[in-house]
């Protein structure tokens, strides 16, 4: 497993060697903070909380995380560096983990860079810091699951556009399953337990608890196991 480190390091620094990192960080912050201010009414809600910031994350991630994840493997396949990587003395799992963790760390940086929002809330009022910490944790865990899905679709093709579209679709399904509008429509035809079962596979259902400050092990397990499962499929797809 020691071979994960050089792969991680190369990938993580790779974001900052190209304009990708800067463009992404700026767009991510403008979009996430913009939504909180203009759609989520951050000030007008008159509450010292970041709820209006976090509540849009499942929708924001839907487009922004595939933008990071689509290049993970597609790019390596297109430029042929995948041949270089897999003739170095490392296993497929080590390569997958190294690249995934680097992208995850990069996304975590993007999420945590919104800290001035938390500082503002703390300056203006008396927010519940536990809720804020829980929301950040939930958001980062959820980003990992999105990224796992994107990394998998990226391993399936050397075309970044196909990779992007596939991952948006896959993530969209995982969001919609728990969207209240969709569930409302579903409960007209299905019994309640079936709707609950379907909603249980959604990002939104599991993320909501975090934004209320509840860190339930079953939500943590959901995100981690979804991430683990997609990474396992990722290894299988690459070794095929």
């Amino acid at each position: 497993m020691s071979q994960v480190t050089p792969v991680f390091k190369r990938e993580f620094l790779g974001y900052f060697r190209s304009p990708v990192a800067y463009v992404f960080l700026i767009v991510f912050l403008m979009a996430s903070v913009g939504l909180a201010f203009f759609v989520g009414q951050f000030f007008r809600a008159n509450q010292a909380s970041l709820e209006s910031y976090f509540t849009f994350h499942p929708w924001l991630f839907l487009f922004l995380i595939p933008a990071v994840g689509m290049r993970l493997w597609s790019e390596e396949k297109r430029t042929g560096t995948v041949e270089l990587l897999f003739t170095l003395p490392l296993t497929t799992l080590e390569a997958v983990l190294g690249k995934f963790l680097a992208a995850w760390a990069f996304l975590s940086v993007a999420i945590l860079l919104s800290f001035p929002m938390a500082v503002t809330a703390g300056y203006l009022g008396d927010p519940d810091w536990g809720v804020i910490a829980g929301s950040y944790l939930g958001s980062i865990l959820m980003a990992g699951s999105y990224l796992g899905v994107c990394s998998l679709t990226s391993a399936l093709t050397k075309n970044q556009v196909i990779s992007f579209v596939l991952s948006v679709l896959a993530c969209l399904v995982l969001v919609l399953l728990g969207w209240s509008v969709f569930n409302g429509a579903l409960s007209a035809v299905l019994p309640v337990w079936a709707v609950d079962l379907v909603a249980n596979f959604s990002f939104v259902t599991h993320f909501d608890a975090f934004t209320k400050g509840i860190i339930d092990p079953k939500d943590v397990v959901f995100f981690l196991s979804l991430t683990g499962f997609t990474l396992f499929l990722n290894v299988v797809a690459l070794e095929r």
Partner: protein, 240 residues
């Protein structure tokens, strides 16, 4: 050193490589010849562990590539066709990444390895340039430097002189010759003079099968007075 035993590779119903076997000893430079699409690159990719063979195996220094690919990859230096590399990295950073995955993590040792590889391939002048800004000849040398960095006992070079100007070709040939004394080298090429100038043995492969495995002198003696490319044409077109 390198022992290839009955390698077979199917792509769908097409038999790209059909029961290829050969041995390369220390001090040998094996020239791998054949028309485009004959299966040269596929064979090399299977020996390096990048592709898994449909049947057969290859042993490098006693390690079986189908059982312990990581051990084989440690013994090999591999220059893939068209020398892929991470374009956004500088030459120095790229070789640093290779050094780390090859297990040279200590600063002094890493720097020594990188410097040695840069000296061997005459890359010192461009060490801080990003790879995407380099000309084809320089990129090829970066690929070489990467393959030589860990001073491997066996080298596999897929068209090492492709796209180089005559001076660079000579330089690369001299480099291969210099290193060959204590290494086993396999190189594929289209250029027949290169085989005469460099190789101690020739394998001609046509439609996935080995049709010739002998010394360049014996190959020449097949049709006294004929040019090498005429002999090559007779051997590879008789199969069609």
């Amino acid at each position: 050193m390198i022992e290839v035993k009955g390698l077979v590779k199917h792509y769908g119903s097409k038999r790209a490589v059909d029961n290829v076997s050969f041995t390369v000893r220390r001090g040998d430079i094996l020239g791998f010849l054949g028309p485009n699409g004959a299966g040269k690159s596929t064979t090399m990719k299977m020996v390096t562990g990048f592709l898994s063979p449909t049947a057969g195996t290859a042993l490098v220094n006693g390690h079986d590539v189908t059982r312990d690919p990581v051990a084989v990859k440690k013994q090999l230096g591999y220059l893939p066709e068209s020398a892929p590399a991470y374009g956004e990295m500088t030459v120095e950073e790229f070789l640093g990444f290779i050094a780390e995955t090859r297990g040279f993590r200590q600063r002094a040792e890493k720097a020594a390895r990188i410097n040695r590889a840069l000296d061997l391939t005459h890359l010192q002048t461009v060490r801080t340039q990003t790879i995407e800004t380099l000309s084809k000849g320089y990129k090829q040398r970066v690929g070489f430097a990467q393959a030589l960095l860990h001073d491997p006992p066996a080298l596999i070079l897929d068209e090492p002189t492709d796209g180089l100007d005559p001076n660079q070709k000579n330089e690369v040939r001299a480099l291969i010759k210099k290193m060959a004394a204590e290494k086993a080298v396999v190189l594929s090429t289209h250029i027949l003079e290169e085989v005469e100038a460099l190789c101690t043995r020739v394998i001609i492969i046509s439609q996935g099968k080995v049709v010739v495995d002998e010394t360049p002198e014996k190959l020449r003696a097949r049709q006294p007075g004929a040019r090498l490319d005429e002999i090559f044409r007779t051997l590879t077109s008789s199969e069609v």
